[in-house]
Subunit: 324 residues, 2 copies
């Protein structure tokens, strides 16, 4: 563990090696390059790699060659492949560049962390999750500005390497995001609430509305349109997110089911919706009034920094300044 | 019952008497006047009536005088007071203008229809529901364009008076809306699905998200923001809508609960969300692809017109032309 005071500029801002050039990986390659970082990437398909090269970026379809280059340059490796391809990608990293710093941009952190452990790469791995994206996919829809002002969670798990953690944080800040430090399983529980549960409720509302036929769909206005918007996302993407976060999502879903069952009882027995509606309104106000604040008093690598960083993240703290 | 061919212009477009000058009633007074209709209104509070007069409209705080004027001019009376004030308003109408055509703009049609029956006014009443509005309220936030391209449901119940039905339809079209004919209880079941259930799900999502504290709220992005938007509406308005439509909302809520319980079982037992997500995506596509079509082949007042009109409404038909 080294204190960041001891980390030179080249150590905190090494080259960036992006594996997978879809929407997120492709945008990251562009954003890192735009920030002045040396950046190169790999994609399995010729089509995306060719498109990246045509757009002036450094991309290849030979994973071994790309990983050897990462090893030789000390690059930070960003795993940006879809979850089903993560395990095989980690196996190749373990083979060719086991000493490099590694991060990822997959939306569920627990299952990536477990796969990294199985590949024997935990000591140099710090997970990440930029909270951005669209329902579109592929190199062509990416853009350097995708991460601007987005929240980028940097996994802050027990025993994390301070130098790698700082490198991942620096990369997120270079891409224009603000960093929220959070333990992997806390992240997964939070996104179950605010990202995965919303999808299940939107699908449910869409089905219940459409079951009313053309009369109901013809009367549908803003509340239905907004409440079902994310049901328009590609089912494969929604399933991968939700099923990858199964345990945390089950807990959130059970909370929602209890609230709805209680509301059902209140409406049936008392003809009232007051308990649910008043609490829901207060909760939405809490969201509207939520304020980020800057974490400035935690030195990365100092005694207790991991727990202090996580505590700050829990209380709404974010990092905007790489010189912590 | 007269066939519309026998209805003169003054009979199909009588003066408009609006009782209640809040967001909907105040906008209706403006829109009717803008369409060239003679229009006058009543509001209980001096403040709104004064504001309406200052804006150049014909408004009064003396309900008896306004109803006597409605009686003398044969005006169509629009009940635009909040649901808790509907009963008392109907009692005054029965006292002073029992022969006038009457409609309303309250969001739940069954409970208004029942109150009208208790007041002995059913024979000259045809309910209405313009599917528009905002969370703001009062004369000052109204505007003539509130109804432009909105859907306006005209209640098409058994035994409805064809002449009054035509007058209500004409008023909605004059205000710039398209008309959907629907039986009151069918309307209430449809809006339970696409307007009231969305509110209960939004409240539930807001509570479950906020229970994750500042970390969860800080990570919340588009899916949470859109899925909880209507939880920002005033609780009193949400409660009035939902509780006024108790029976239909219980049915919709039970459908949603069954879908969510089944999804919970599927996720727990099979680690899958496929059934819910695939059906939800298809339902949202049905909504995106929903097309209105014009009802042109039903003559109001002809044999079987009520059932034919309701059938067309069920299949997505709308009325844009007053000369049916």
């Amino acid at each position: 563990m080294c204190h960041p005071d001891a980390v030179s500029a080249s150590e905190s801002s090494p080259p960036v090696c992006v594996l997978g050039l879809g929407l997120i990986g492709g945008s990251l390659l562009r954003a890192a390059a735009a920030a002045g970082r040396q950046a190169f990437g790999y994609n399995r398909s010729n089509e995306s790699a060719d498109a990246a090269r045509t757009d002036g970026y450094d991309a290849d379809t030979d994973l071994t060659a790309v990983l050897n280059r990462a090893r030789d340059t000390g690059a930070i490796i960003v795993v940006a492949v879809p979850m089903p391809a993560v395990e095989a990608t980690l196996t190749k990293i373990a083979e060719h560049a086991p000493g490099n710093p590694i991060t990822d941009v997959v939306s569920v952190k627990g299952e990536v962390r477990d796969a990294v452990a199985r590949a024997g790469l935990s000591s140099r791995f710090v997970g990440g999750h930029p909270m951005t994206g669209t329902s579109a996919s592929g190199w062509s829809v990416g853009e350097a500005s995708l991460f601007t002002d987005a929240v980028w969670v940097v996994a802050t798990d027990d025993g994390v390497d301070a130098a790698v953690w700082s490198q991942v944080t620096r990369l997120a800040l270079d891409c224009g995001s603000v960093v929220v430090p959070a333990e992997s399983s806390e992240h997964d529980r939070a996104v179950a609430r605010i990202s995965h549960l919303p999808h299940l409720l939107a699908e449910t509302l869409a089905i219940t509305g459409a079951a009313g036929g053309d009369l109901a769909l013809g009367l549908a206005a803003g509340s239905f349109r907004d409440g079902t918007r994310v049901a328009g996302s590609a089912p494969a993407l929604v399933r991968a997110m939700c099923e990858g976060n199964r345990d945390a999502l089950l807990d959130s879903l059970d909370e929602a089911l209890r609230l709805l069952q209680d509301a059902r009882t209140d409406l049936f027995e008392n003809s009232s919706t007051a308990t649910l509606v008043d609490a829901g309104h207060a909760a939405r106000r809490a969201y509207d009034n939520h304020q980020r604040w800057d974490i400035t008093d935690v030195s990365v690598g100092a005694d207790g920094w991991i727990e202090r960083m996580r505590d700050a993240g829990r209380r709404g703290g974010v990092i905007r300044n790489p010189e912590l």
